[in-house]
Symmetry: C2
């Protein structure tokens, strides 16, 4: 049998048909073009699903489960998207809307970061594990928490927001309104801020040459400068990794999962990022006396994690 996954983003609607070996058999893609009425977006989600089925040479009769990852608060009891800043959704009954359009029985919905974490658990870095945290170091710090094979999202489905835990009390203002959230320091946005601040303080840093100008600074600038032997860039990269590691140890001290899987743009640094973080983690974790310790790994599925996780959401309820 086959599974149909939907990744609804602020920019794109991406869909895929996935087989039981987690291989993608066909894909669909349309622009989300929001803000626009949820009805129209639902129409295009259904159209993108049919595109993926057509590419795979299959029909809905071959599909065992359909699921979607949504950037927002998904009430899994009612199938209503309670709120999505990215999509401009407020109390949208998306489950029912998709079920009507697809005519294929229950459509399972989940927050997109949670769906991506579940995808990495099933088919990626967490294969064979039951306890995993997936952290995405992108524009923000996304997170999905899986305990005993189940997604943690709390009684109101708004939980799992590790990025919005304060690690620097009274620190930098976060998009969520708090000050000093992990996200404000460990995201690519946070790294870019640290990089710019260091460049302004050090007009002689090689980072000026590498980036060209402050406006062109990105998440690689400081790491590239470190590789080029620039002491200021090296300091920025290490300060950044310190912030990432601080939050990771917090996660470990709470959950002690089998693995923490790190994805998002910055995770492309691979061992350049993970090796110093592992040292910090080993020195600071509370579980110094335990034989079993959390492993740190990079995510392996990239953007497909969300689609694969969404496709198999039904398995969480079987």
């Amino acid at each position: 049998m086959y599974y149909l996954g939907i990744d609804l983003g602020g920019t794109n609607i991406a869909t895929a048909v996935v087989n039981e070996q987690y291989e993608i058999m066909g894909r669909g893609k349309l622009k989300t073009r929001c803000p626009r009425p949820a009805d129209e977006i639902a129409d295009d989600i259904a159209a993108a699903c049919r595109m993926a089925l057509e590419e795979a040479g299959l029909s809905l009769l071959d599909v065992e489960g359909v699921g979607a990852g949504i950037p927002g608060t998904v009430n899994k009891a009612t199938g209503i998207i309670e709120y999505s800043n990215n999509l401009g959704f407020d109390q949208v009954p998306l489950q029912k809307m998709l079920e009507e359009r697809l005519g294929c029985g229950k459509v399972y919905l989940e927050n997109d970061a949670n769906a991506a974490a579940y995808g990495e658990l099933l088919a990626g870095a967490g294969k064979g594990c039951e306890n995993m945290i997936a952290i995405t170091l992108g524009t923000g710090v996304g997170s999905g928490i899986i305990v005993d094979g189940k997604i943690i999202s709390g009684v109101n489905f708004a939980g799992g927001e590790l990025g919005h835990t304060v690690i620097v009390k009274d620190g930098v203002l976060c998009t969520c309104g708090r000050r000093g959230c992990w996200e404000s320091y460990a995201s690519a946005t946070g790294l870019i801020r640290l990089t710019k601040e260091a460049m302004e303080a050090h007009p002689d840093s090689k980072m000026w040459e590498l980036a060209g100008s402050l406006d062109q600074v990105n998440g690689r600038t400081a790491f590239d400068a470190m590789r080029a032997g620039d002491p200021v860039g090296t300091q920025v990269a290490h300060d950044y990794m310190d912030y990432v590691a601080c939050g990771l140890v917090n996660c470990i001290n709470i959950f002690q999962p089998d693995i923490i899987c790190i994805g998002g743009g910055i995770s492309k640094e691979g061992e350049t990022l993970l090796a110093p973080i592992r040292k910090y983690v080993e020195a600071e974790r509370y579980s110094k006396h335990s034989a079993v310790q959390t492993q740190l790994k990079t995510a392996v599925l990239g953007n497909d994690a969300g689609i694969i996780g969404a496709a198999f959401l039904k398995k969480l309820y079987d």
Copy 2:
């Protein structure tokens, strides 16, 4: 039927026989007198169990389940206490030792903070809930996390340590070796440090009169000064509540539980503590758009939470 609960502390071994309505039918108590060999401590645990049974007029034949809360890392798969700083235990097979001494079938072990959280869930502030975090504001900040009726302790049983998450990066040195842990600010120890610092900076504060001397400062000094209208004491109490609330919002943003139950010495302040914390939490939690919100309550069972939770541990595995 009846259940037998054991609360093994660094100072006392406390036991109780509990009925199915969570009423205590008989108690036993002996000094732990550690450090001494684990064999001797196990002998006294068994003796304290027999004391409780005798007071209740019951025998082990009336007991459906036996459980113990232990201050340390309890490997629930092996029944071995992997490490306990308080007891001086290192790889002690306590489950087997107690089963041999009591001759009553399986003895269930759990970390003491987790057992206390489970007790509050079953019979106290969390009655009727499935998702609860219990926070103890005492010498340290203890925590027990319950999701869908199960205790979260991670793959190595060392998890659930919300007190050892950093909220002030590079802050005050914690007993765990990290800097800036929530425990270092939100514990009674943290409050006493804040109080002393403020007294030294303000020789005119009413806190000098209330405490007598720096050595006599306790967790009530700042709150008493606030009630007496002392501006310095008021500032200390509010700074302290800010630290408590910061960590509580972190907990909410991760878990979004039904309730957070706050126990320990400082929780005796009741609404003096909880009312300002609720305001902070309402302003900062990520779940602003959710109809369902985490409730903050004080713990109700006091020291009996650990014994009652331990007594019913068997129910977690049935």
